[in-house]
């Protein structure tokens, strides 16, 4: 099976229903994408598939063969992603950091769809969980990235 991740193609030989997250982390060693709940609930495993936020823990790898996948490792190569990362640094968002790669991916996907999101849109799209409670900083960083 051929996967296109961050512009590179990878050949993987794996069961078709393996979650994309395990292919990224265990097969390809890209551990920036985190495992949180395994149920599409927390968002720690978020990656972009064709620019859309996708929970890689519930994505059978077979269904993204041939799709354009982007992970946190390459987010700064994306113009929107770069703005998000800069705003994240400026706002000093992360505390423990575990959920943050997923948060950045979700924010990037949001700004790709809606360049100037309202506060309501931000609240509606940024549903990733953060045990440290950095939600205010996340919202501020998304607003800053939208202004940039």
């Amino acid at each position: 099976m051929e996967l296109t991740i961050n512009g590179q193609t990878h050949q993987v030989d794996i069961e078709p229903d393996t979650p994309l997250l395990w292919v990224l982390r265990d097969e390809l060693g890209m551990t920036g994408t985190k495992y949180g709940c395994g149920l599409a609930q927390c968002g720690a495993c978020t990656v972009l598939v064709h620019g859309q936020a996708t929970r890689s823990c519930v994505t059978p790898v077979e269904t993204v063969a041939g799709a354009k996948i982007m992970t946190i490792e390459a987010i700064e190569t994306d113009p929107v992603g770069q703005k998000v990362v800069e705003a994240w640094v400026a706002q000093q968002v992360p505390q423990c950091g575990y959920c943050q790669s997923g948060q950045v991916m979700a924010a990037t996907a949001l700004l790709k769809q809606s360049a100037r999101p309202t506060d309501e849109e931000i609240a509606g799209a940024m549903v990733n969980l953060c045990r440290c409670g950095t939600y205010n900083a996340i919202a501020a960083a998304v607003r800053e990235a939208a202004q940039a």
Partner: protein, 443 residues
């Protein structure tokens, strides 16, 4: 005076005849067969028990197989399935083959007591002598005996008298095992036998009448397998209804669904998840192909089914109202798995666009699975990797109503909107801690 005497005599005779009828032991083809037959290979009877899915009701979660004890609600009170292990005192170890046959195919216990039709004997009546003999052999010789007393029903006297059930049987149960239809080939007839007989698909998928009888037991009636509501789930039509039945499924799709628990149209959930885990996945490819052939021969009903569904890309939702709010909730909660296009992910995650359970008039299944998630699908010993999570603690009644209204009204789906009231009702009924939880109904 003479008239009165004649009347009394006639009345006594009628009561006597009725009593005799309601408690008599029916004839079985095995009456002259002793129980001391040589055991058959375990596979033969085990397969028959898989076909009939005995374990589904005659076990409890975490309990020993076939020891019974599963509670089932009836309008009169709760009844409990019985111990069918070969324990001689609490199980069926003392049954002769003829007594076993009478219980399975005629709903009559050895003492003449009539079984509640929670035991699907109107369906099992169609089982062949060979399958009944194999079942008997399996339960008597291959299932370990477990001593576990049966629980008494909570139905109070006089409603707990069993003899009136003999008249229920007279009205609603056909006698005699399945007779092949000469107009159809062997595969179709095998499928009809499995669906109507041991598979007892109609127990869930055929609507029930006022006396809780299945309104039809075979394909001669268009209501057979036309879909029914039970236990807070809607068992959809298994007829060729384009939208709400198997109309868009090929025979191969049907067989794959029963073998793997999933295909590109959907994944087993609710009560069907149990039927899959315990029964259909163990059927041979030949038997599954036969079931598919038979089901695909049942015509749909376009009047009931509505205009044929076809996929349409979602229109931009209105800026306000349930569709707009539903679209937002969908994007945040559902789209990650089911896709923003509603098409799911191959056979791994169900599409919502065009799914029969989404398009069904009855919305119980979509509400129930959103509140409570899906159970564990175990195919060939391996638990599923992708499972619908329960959202009851994350979404309010109104939010679930909105998102389901969006799902039932997008991508070409044209099913009625869902109200918060409907969600509230099912939330209460499926909450085991509430005062009024659903008890498994007769099936």
């Amino acid at each position: 005076m003479k008239k009165l005497a004649a009347f009394v005599v006639l009345a006594v005779l009628a009561v006597g005849a009725g009593y005799w009828f309601a408690t008599r032991i029916p004839a079985s083809p095995f009456d002259s067969v002793g129980s001391a037959t040589a055991p058959l290979p375990v596979e033969r009877g085990e397969y028959a028990a898989r076909l009939a899915d005995c374990v589904a009701c005659h076990s409890t979660e975490g309990g020993k197989a076939f020891t019974g004890g599963l509670a089932m609600g009836t309008p009169l009170g709760t009844i409990f399935s019985t111990n069918i292990t070969p324990d001689r005192e609490t199980g069926i170890g003392g049954y002769t083959l003829a007594q076993f046959d009478n219980a399975v195919r005629r709903g009559v216990a050895p003492d003449g007591r009539r079984l509640y039709p929670a035991m699907p004997h109107p369906s099992y009546a169609k089982m062949s002598d060979d399958d009944v003999r194999a079942l008997y052999d399996y339960f008597l010789h291959h299932v370990p005996a477990v001593r576990q007393e049966n629980r008494p029903t909570t139905i109070a006297w006089p409603l707990n008298m069993r003899w009136p059930l003999a008249f229920w049987n007279l009205a609603f149960a056909d006698a005699g095992s399945y007779r092949p239809a000469p107009a159809h080939d062997e595969i179709w007839n095998r499928g009809a036998y499995l669906v109507q007989g041991p598979g007892h698909c109609g127990s869930c998928h055929t609507p029930r009448g006022l006396a809780l009888q299945e309104v039809a037991l075979d394909e001669r009636d268009p209501r057979f397998l036309s879909g029914a509501l039970l236990d807070g789930w809607y068992a959809p039509s298994l007829r060729n209804d384009h939208n709400t039945g198997l109309g868009r499924w090929s025979e191969e799709d049907v067989a794959t669904f029963l073998k793997d628990g999933r295909n590109q149209h959907g994944v087993v959930f609710g009560s069907m998840m149990e039927a899959f885990n315990n029964s259909t996945q163990f059927m041979t490819d030949g038997d599954l192909a036969a079931i598919a052939r038979y089901l695909k021969s049942l015509p749909g009903d376009a009047a009931r089914d509505g205009a044929p569904w076809s996929y349409q890309a979602a229109a931009a939702p209105a800026p306000a109202g349930p569709m707009a709010s539903g679209a937002r909730i969908y994007a945040a909660r559902c789209g990650f798995c089911h896709g923003s296009d509603g098409r799911g992910r191959n056979e791994w995650i169900s599409p919502l666009a065009g799914a029969s359970s989404v398009l069904a008039l009855e919305n119980a299944s979509v509400i129930n699975i959103t509140l409570n998630g899906s159970g564990r699908v175990v195919a060939a010993g391996v638990p599923d990797a992708y499972r619908m999570p329960a959202l009851r603690d994350q979404l309010s009644d109104g939010e679930i109503a909105d998102v389901l209204t969006f799902i039932r009204g997008s991508w070409g789906n044209r099913a009625a909107s869902v109200t918060a009231e409907e969600v509230r009702t099912l939330r209460e009924l499926t909450n085991a801690a509430s005062s009024d939880p659903i008890v498994l109904q007769m099936r």
